[in-house]
Amino acid sequence: MRVIIVGAGEVGSNIAASLAESHDVIVIDVDPETVEELTYSSDILAIEGDGTSLETLEDAGLGEADMLIASTDDDETNILSCGTAKTVGDIFTIARVRNANFLATWTRSEGAFGVDFMVSTNLLTANDIVRVVGLPAAVDVDPFAGGIVQMAEFEVAADSEIAGRTVEEVDTFEALTFAALVQNGDVAIARGQTPIEAGNKAIVIGSPESVQAFSRTVAPAKTPDEARDIVIVGGSDIGYHTAKLLEERGLQSRLIEQDAERGRQLAEALPGTIVMKHDATDVEFLVGEHIDRADAVIAVADSDEKNLLVSLLAKSLGVRRTVAVIEEGQYANLFETVGIDVAINPREATAEEIVRFTQEGQIENLSLIEGRQAEVLEIEVDEASVLTGRPIRECVGELPSEVVIGAITRNQEFVVPRGDTVIEPGDHVVLFVSADALSAVMSVV
């Protein structure tokens, strides 16, 4: 497939890197330096120019291209690029927007603006935040098979019940599969005898109930039944969508916004949220509002620095869990190192979503682990797959060793994968696959 990517920022280059292996990728960017850098660093074609100009798009080979992904930081540019591309040929277009209003319009009439698929960074990020907050102690949560299956990543604390034991000893949960352990940034498939050490991250796949139960075992202190008291700091668009999603789940959160007018707007738009007008870095205020007793503090202010400050303040007051939005992708790890529980990078989330979409077809859904060292993917199996028609015990021999069958769903029902389970055509299978084994796996399943 020939793919044109407009905008080589964090999102664009991330997508480009993901797709370069299996597709022909052409990147358009207005900045000559970025273009030069890309030309030498990756195996792609980089073109300097304006993505909304038909001429530039045609230079990039619009006629032969199958897909256009507009991923600049400017919503209007992205939409316009898609619209422009559509005027010439029947190309599949994907636009990244921040503003969820565009998404709302597009959802009303799919194909609006000449966009075939639209991803709203802000809404996506809010969704990620709410998912992570909904499963206390998890650092990453992704739904599969329409929410029937969950993939979750947990950090194993020193005082955790499972620290110092082997996978076999811990793997006692119904409807839960231990997929992998992350040690010092390296992903390793979980074997029965693999020891689990404090500081590791455990990746599990299972039904939401069993993941929740597992979460209580991993970090009992951090895991009340559900996060009830949630404080959102910052009335950004992401903050608004986060509060809105929490409202939809029936949770009343508190939102702190410094600007009175924006605060009023938010209070009017969010009937189920208590909006407060105050500076969230005022320690006295935070103490007065009993922020220390909050189950989670979500920092979604406009600057990374402020989010870091607020999160650290909250931590120092004793908040169980802090989630911060970090715009600058390279800081994410650093922030998690200094004590923020979860750092979410909207650009990375967007890139992931777009890559996930481009691989749609055979793959129903996908989640990237530790910077693409591994992927969790959902596929619908057919007659031709090696997985179908016989017990799992037998087909494992034909699969590379870096694969774990995490979960199976049949007719929207969860099926626990055991050695004697027989996978039928039409079943959805959630697999954990190391990057090295990815192409080998894809060719047989």
Binding site: A260, L266, V275, M276, K277
Partner: protein
């Protein structure tokens, strides 16, 4: 000094309304013709309104109404209508209504849908005159709504506040793109409801459940029920009729005080709007609360009613009648215990829903006041919290909340001043009026309820009050109906000066 107000524009519009007033006079004229009573009291005003109306229209050419002129127009319209309405009473020269002050009081009480009556002896008045009285209320009932929709909703102050609040909650003038279409729509609903009530009441008569309810009575009562006004051609008001009639009238009073916008949606099968309306739920809640309260007291008192049905009927009827500011009496509630009477007195201050024919402060305002106060209690302990007030899910802006607070306060101040006046003026002529009687009479006229307690009780008359009190009460009814502010604005010097 130049006067900034173009009073001619206001008068021209008043003339436009006036010249059509001959139409409602047709009905009493026909009745007079049928009964063989004098025709002149109706023929002369007919000529007068057309000539006067056309005359006023000659004052100036057709020009757009501006805010300032609108205040004057609204105030003058109600004043002129009451003067024209009084003419047949004076010309007929029957009983106490022959006195011009009394006639104007009665007419103002009619056109403002108050229902406070001067009449002492109902037998002395012809059916035509009593029908004209009912007709006045019917015009007044929808008149204010149409006027409010057409004129007040375009202004940003005063009575318009209410409509504005509603624009946010119920899309009052957005039923149709054109105000004139909306007004026509309101008339259709109004006429249909009136027709329905005539059919129900006369139907009860035909099947034998209401021996006293003649067609004439059915029409007169339908006119004064839907308009929530309360004049009855019977001295005993609704107490003159069977329990079946009393039960049948209750829903019509309640509907008259229900937002016509909601009625419009319900007629079109959209019951969801009814369920979503905070104000409607509040209004129904109030009716239920006070009915249970009054009913409980009547039950505890054990007298004067012996059957549970009678207690239920009279407590429901009186609460609905007073809250909706209709003012009918199904019984002489003057005889009730002090507790029950005081509960009923409180009902005078509530009113039905905005956008209906009801008067008083109105459920919407109380709801906003209560919500705003609850918000204040919350922010007292959470000073940083920003809490908008919502009605039916929509945010009410802070300016509107302030205006509603102000209106409610001003209303209560007027009520207090009026009470003091009634007491002082009565003692001047050595008329014995208790504090409670004075308070209820002031509230009954100012909030356009009609009957008060004691001297001006449900089966009594306002005639014993001195002329000066009657004049003040006429004024109270006038400003109460147009929600004070248009008149108060006229009284400020800055309104007139440039």
């Amino acid at each position: 000094m130049r006067v900034r107000v173009d009073w001619r524009v206001s008068c021209r519009l008043v003339g436009t309304i006036l010249k059509w007033l001959w139409i409602p006079l047709v009905l009493p004229l026909g009745l007079a013709l049928y009964d063989g009573t004098p025709l002149l009291p109706f023929v002369l005003p007919m000529i007068g309104t057309v000539v006067g109306g056309l005359g006023l229209e000659q004052l100036t050419e057709d020009r757009d109404l501006r805010t300032r002129e609108a205040f004057l127009m609204v105030s003058l319209t109600w004043l002129f209508l009451s003067l024209v309405g009084a003419a047949p009473f004076v010309l007929a020269g029957e009983g106490v209504l022959a006195e011009p002050v009394n006639a104007v009081f009665e007419s103002m009480s009619g056109i403002t849908t108050t229902g406070a009556t001067i009449i002492v002896d109902f037998d002395r008045h012809s059916r035509a005159v009593l029908m004209w009285r009912a007709m006045l209320q019917w015009i007044g009932g929808l008149g204010i709504l149409v006027l409010a929709t057409a004129v007040l909703s375009q202004l940003s102050v005063g009575g318009a506040q209410l409509m504005e609040t509603e624009t946010q909650t119920q899309d009052v003038n957005k039923l149709t793109p054109r105000i004139s279409e909306t007004a026509a729509l309101l008339w259709k609903i109004y006429i249909s409801l009136t027709g329905l009530q005539v059919a129900v009441l006369y139907g009860l008569h035909l099947v034998g459940y209401a021996p006293e309810m003649t067609l004439y009575d059915a029409v007169a009562h339908a006119f004064t029920t839907i308009s929530t006004s309360g004049f009855s051609p019977r001295g005993d008001s609704i107490a003159a009729f069977s329990p079946a009639v009393q039960w049948a009238i209750v829903p019509f009073m309640a509907i008259g005080a229900t937002s016509f916008i909601l009625i419009y949606f319900v007629v079109h099968g959209n019951f969801e709007r009814l369920r979503q309306s905070d104000e409607f739920r509040f209004y129904v809640g109030i009716l239920a609360f006070f009915t249970l309260g009054v009913g409980g007291m009547l039950f505890a008192d054990g007298a004067p009613y012996t059957s549970l049905e009678a207690i239920a009927r009279h407590s429901l009827f009186q609460v609905v009648s007073i809250v909706t500011t209709t003012g009918y009496a199904s019984t002489d509630f003057n005889l009730w215990s002090s507790g029950a009477k005081h509960l009923l007195f409180v009902c005078m201050f509530i009113g039905g829903m905005a956008g209906s024919t009801t008067c008083s402060i109105k459920a919407l305002r109380w709801l906003v006041v209560i919500k705003a106060f609850r918000r204040d209690l919350f922010t007292a302990s959470n000073p940083s919290a920003i809490r908008p007030i919502r009605l039916s899910g929509n945010v009410v802006d802070e300016e509107t909340i302030r205006d509603i607070y102000a209106y409610t306060l001003v209303s209560l101040v007027f009520f207090i001043l009026a009470t003091i006046f009634v007491v002082v003026d009565a003692s001047r002529v050595r008329l014995t009026v208790s504090e409670f009687e004075a308070m209820s009479a002031a509230a009954a006229t100012f909030f356009n309820v009609g009957p008060a307690f004691g001297i001006a009780g449900p089966l009594e008359s306002y005639d014993p009050f001195p002329t000066s009190t009657k004049l003040v009460m006429t004024f109270l009814m006038w400003i109460g109906r147009i929600e004070i502010i248009p008149v108060l604005v006229l009284l400020t010097p800055s309104y007139w000066r440039s």
